[in-house]
Amino acid sequence: MTELREIQLPDAAAQASSAENARELRGEKMVLNMGPSHPATHGVLRIVLELDGEIITKARPEIGYLHRGDEKIAENMTYTQFIPYTDRLDYLAPLANNVAYALAVEKLMGIDQQLPPRCQYIRVICCELARLSSHLLGVGCYAMDCGALTVFLHTFTEREKIYNLCESLTGARFTTAYTRIGGLSRDLPPGWVDQCRKFLKEVVVNIAETETFLTRNRIFMDRTQGVGVIPKEVAIDYGLTGPNLRGSGVEHDLRKAQPYLVYSQLKFDVPVGLAGDCYDRYLVRMEEMRQSVRILHQCLDQLPGGPVNVPDGKVALPPKDRVLTRMEELIHHFINVTQGVNAPPGEIYFGHENPKGELGFYINSKGGGTPHRLKIRSPSFVNLSILSHLLPGQMLSDVVAILGSFDFVMGECDR
């Protein structure tokens, strides 16, 4: 006679498979507060994550911890006085911000086509040095986020040389405030071109070494490939710009699409990714550094002579020796400093290809020396808005890899 008996399975995994137990094991969702002070948030970004085990179900980025009211401040000072504030937007590439802001004001004044060639070339050199500096930091920090500390120290050695170049060029390593409306605060110092050439020779070696550390590194590839994939349409819909957009396969670079300065005369390629994952965004940055070196070599070879400021005393400050000896230049200097440049009424938007993406300035002027409204369209602000869409469904440990691949700066995100 057969007897039916219910047996208890000792295996925990098998137990979980029954519906009743599964409900019990699923438990409650956990809310994890990441930041505002966390090594992977690169500043003061806070993300409130809702977790189901290790899977993120909801992500809510909270920003504004570095909000200083730059746009309000800009309405209360002259155009020239605001230049030092642009250093503090993307503080990893202050030279590029200076150039972007100066070009925006010059577009408003209608003098952007009258800039002397030497000024334009030096500004391109500034932008590309800033791009190198920003990407070296971006790649170094990204590797550190993924667990490779050596790369960080390696790329920072090279950034130190860029800071030395900045110091001899502008007098400051970090807060450069180098451009002026209609020109530059000073010309290149003697011997700077040779120093820069020497640096370019060294940096290509460094980039190649960094590449051997990471590009075919099994751990790094496993950590970044297929993680944080952004399809092309989503990237456009969320308004991503810069390497994050190009990593998703959109071939768009404002230096090519809306050429400013002398970019139309320079030869360079725009790298794009295929998969749109973290690895592609890293690859785009690596290639952009090589292209920047290429642009810098062309600029240093073609660098023309001549003045660096527009010859109009109503826009750029006249040379100091003439201010001290001549009546007209003294008046120009006085009016320029006390009232600022006299911008016409009107409104313009100027988008600049910054290392992190499209840095745009919208200036609404009612005439005179101060803007009525100055809006800063910062790439990091827009790039971060995709997080609440991108993070759900990812593993908690991948948040660090995804954040690092965006290479954002809270200084310009919060303004």
Partner: protein, 193 residues
């Protein structure tokens, strides 16, 4: 296709609603007379005229004029590389207009920022909270009647603000005029005058 041609096409689709395009420094601006129609206009601009990238939305405070607020949209198309600016007015009494987050998702944070800084609300926005300031902060700092120095505020156990010492600022100067604090109306707190 140039920006002017796309502007004319958009204008033809919404007859009487969109002004004659104006050009300044090579940029085309269209004024939309009815803010309520912005989502429709934006959807047509995106789907039919190829403006797939919303660069930015920003706000202006025309303090003293009516309507008080202007919302400015910057559109760009990756296909034709044209830039277009749309402007529409919102009065202070109404203080709201429909959201365009249904057209471009990037509008989400831009609209939150405008709400936070200027106090213009976007109807239908999925999550209209303050973004740069904290929840409970009582003012809208980018309005022209908000003083540069700030105003005192206190949200218990969250944050507080005190007016900043300006040391003779704000810093715009005009030779021979009054001293800067007396000359600058925005630095004074209107209630105390």
């Amino acid at each position: 296709m140039t920006a002017l041609e796309t502007a004319q096409q958009l204008r033809a689709k919404f007859d009487g609603l969109i002004s004659e395009p104006s050009e300044f420094r090579g940029e085309i601006t269209l004024r939309v007379s009815d803010a309520e129609r912005m989502p429709d206009i934006c959807r047509v601009a995106k789907t039919e005229l190829g403006f797939d990238y919303l660069v930015d939305i920003t706000s202006l405070d025309n303090y003293g004029d009516d309507p008080r607020f202007t919302i400015v949209y910057h559109l760009y198309g990756y296909g034709h590389l044209c830039h277009l600016r749309l402007k529409t007015d919102v009065s202070e009494e109404k203080g709201e207009l429909p959201t365009v987050t249904g057209v471009w998702r990037t509008a989400d944070w831009h609209e939150r920022e405008i709400y936070d800084m200027m106090g213009v609300r976007f109807r239908g926005h999925p999550d209209l909270r303050r973004i740069l300031m904290w929840e409970g902060y009582p003012y809208f700092p980018l309005r022209k009647d908000f003083p540069l120095a700030g105003k005192p505020s206190d949200v218990p156990e969250v944050a507080f603000t005190n007016p900043a010492p300006l040391e003779g600022g704000p810093f715009v100067t005009i030779a021979g005029g009054k001293d800067t604090v007396a000359r600058e109306p925005r630095v004074r707190i209107p209630e105390t005058d």
